[in-house]
Symmetry: C2
Subunit: 402 residues, 2 copies
């Protein structure tokens, strides 16, 4: 019983933490509840019920299915649902007219033949990448509406009225849903994407710095702190999926705040790709640097490498601030200049290394020297990839008119 109690309390703590970390998540739950209550008014208030009737079910379903966490997600689903319903219904009405001309006997065959044909084509079209990215939900709704209307046509007298009712209730649902989603504490996919990019860039900065500090630190000072910092690059490696989906949804959002019409959301995915390239190198660096069980800190190149890493981190942090605040800063330019000097210095030092090594062969083992070479070269590679990140951020700033 005690074990169960501990488990339950652990679980509820975890759940509480999810809500406390981001209060917009419980707020999302409340927003869904509010939208559902607004929709259910159509059931409770007599005059409204007389207008819509039992079809209010469709409005409730629409709210539950369309209401997403971000405004972009709700817009995507809402517009897809409307477009899918209308096109599916229109096509089905046309088909019904043709089928009804073909006589009572043939009608079911014409109708179900058209259902198979359209469902198969539409379902297959979901494998086309553009359709998948933008209209996946719309195609599902299209197939659903088409088959529903086409099949109902056989038993229902006034098909057009049924279709219009359905479209009207779905429109009511979509409007209530979008209204609540965008007006009460809205969560914009574009802003989330912007923040995620800025935050990942900062994490990358700490990771580059942490890795190098960790490598050149005295092993006795086993800095758990630096090691923990350097883990941040993993979240850069793992956030491709959420970046892609947010960029996709942000496109559906109306202009808001600094995110104007035609905001270059695509460019964010390019910045993210550049960051990921950098993170791959950090991963190699941390596994190369971490492999050794050194007894003492390497003496050579320590200054130059630490300086490059610090400058790399500074450039990334400046770029992150630029993205987060959506401004261009002069400091970024200075930071890049400093950083280039440091990289050049490291390259020169690296060229002189063999002579220095020759002087102290007694102190430095060969394996250590090789590892040092690799760490320095990977750091130079990281510096090159950071230039790519800065370039991508520059393009973003130009396109978005920061």
């Amino acid at each position: 019983a005690a074990a169960l109690e501990a488990k339950v309390s652990g679980f509820s703590k975890k759940v509480w933490k999810i809500g406390a970390d981001d209060p917009r998540k419980p707020a999302y739950g409340v927003k869904v509840g509010i939208a559902l209550t607004l929709v259910s008014l159509f059931y409770y208030v007599r005059p409204l019920y007389d207008g819509v009737g039992g079809n209010a079910v469709w409005a409730i379903m629409t709210v539950v299915l369309v209401f997403e966490y971000t405004v972009g997600g709700s817009m995507y689903k809402g517009l897809n649902r409307l477009a899918g319903t209308m096109s599916g219904a229109a096509l089905a009405l046309g088909m019904h007219w043709i089928a009804s001309k073909s006589g009572e006997k043939l009608e079911p065959f014409v109708a179900s033949g058209s259902v198979i044909l359209l469902a198969a084509t539409a379902t297959f079209s979901r494998f086309i990448p553009t359709v998948k990215a933008r209209f996946d939900y719309g195609v599902t709704v299209f197939v659903m509406t088409y088959s529903f209307v086409a099949v109902s046509g056989y038993r229902v007298e006034d098909l057009a009225a049924l279709v219009l009712d359905r479209i009207a209730t779905i429109a009511i649902g979509v409007i209530i849903c979008l209204g609540v989603c965008a007006l009460i504490c809205p969560v914009w996919a574009g802003q989330e994407l912007n923040l995620l990019t800025a935050r990942n860039m900062e994490k990358l900065a700490y990771a580059v710095e942490g890795c190098i500090e960790d490598y050149f630190a005295e092993p006795s000072v086993k800095r758990a702190e630096a090691a923990a910092k350097s883990e941040g690059y993993k979240s850069v490696l793992g956030s491709k999926a959420s970046e892609d989906s947010q960029a996709n949804l942000a496109r559906w959002e109306p202009p808001h705040g600094r995110f104007g019409f035609g905001h270059p959301y695509d460019q964010y995915t390019k910045v993210a790709a550049a960051m990921r390239h950098c993170a791959y190198c950090v991963e190699s660096l941390s596994s190369c640097a971490g492999a050794s069980s050194r007894e003492r800190a390497p003496r050579l190149l320590g200054d130059a490498c630490t300086r490059v890493a610090a400058r790399c981190a500074r450039v990334l942090k400046e770029a992150s601030t630029c993205v987060a605040t959506m401004t261009t800063s002069r400091t970024l330019g200075f930071a890049v200049a400093d950083f280039n000097t440091a990289v050049h210095q490291l390259q020169t030092d690296l060229g002189n290394l063999p002579f220095k090594l020759a002087e102290k062969t007694a102190e430095t083992s060969l394996a250590e020297a090789m590892q040092l070479f690799t760490v320095a070269l990977l750091l130079i590679e990281i510096a090159a990839s950071i230039e790519g990140v800065v370039h991508a951020v520059g393009t973003l700033a130009t396109l978005a008119r920061f």
Copy 2:
């Protein structure tokens, strides 16, 4: 007009290619059509219609919403839909009974209060990772059913009959859907996952080989072929999302063929993580190796590196065959032994490198020598990560009783 024509023909070629590359994709479309036709029989055939009536709509919707490409996907959605509908309906009936005791005036307030409360809680619960992974769709259906039944209770007389009808039609839809999905050319998520893992492992093998061959090749023989081969690791980097979702869906599948009950689908994601670690190193290797604009091939270490790369590739290919055919092979053991010898040889050669370099300082520039060191060390790192892959495959073989 000519431009438009070219665009249309280009697009249709692309669509044709999607279908031709994997005939199961158009087959999926046809399967959806068949399932919809079977469901619509409930509308067309008089005795069936008398049994179900206008509620057949729910069966149609269920088929469209539940029918996924893989059996696992359909199982996940179907079972979630059934469970969500039943639990939502049961709770709503209970709530309705309580609300009806509270009198005509209060009833709407009790009902909509409970809707807000439950919708908010359930929606928030979707942020809990376990719920998100396994019951996301079920929670949506639960909220939908609960609000639908709770709200309908105000206007509908025989609520229990409505609920039972709804559950029955949804069950019909789910059963037809799962039947068609699992019996007509089924696509198993587990098999797809197995195949994807094996294929990615093979691509990784070619990438390791290609990178090193490319680096040590005479620049005049600019081998576009090797470069193209070495691109394969990118698909390893990019397939995390699909692996995770397939592993998630495969858990819902009934035992089939060699995929027994409790098949260790989780272990596949671990194999994939090990492969991704290797791919990060390959990415660093290819950007380090590709950075140089050499005028001639490096002479030193060429043999040892090429041998290690070839052995790495062989080990990966053997492991890939093991996964693809689901057998253990003795050849893998031999390949690993060979590979270890080659890595040791490379490490010895690397130790002797400085003496060799001293002999030929005229021929080899410093920058070249440093790059050579880095390439060799990254290759050793890759070899270490391949050991991780082999280990993960071994665990998989044990757990799945290959």
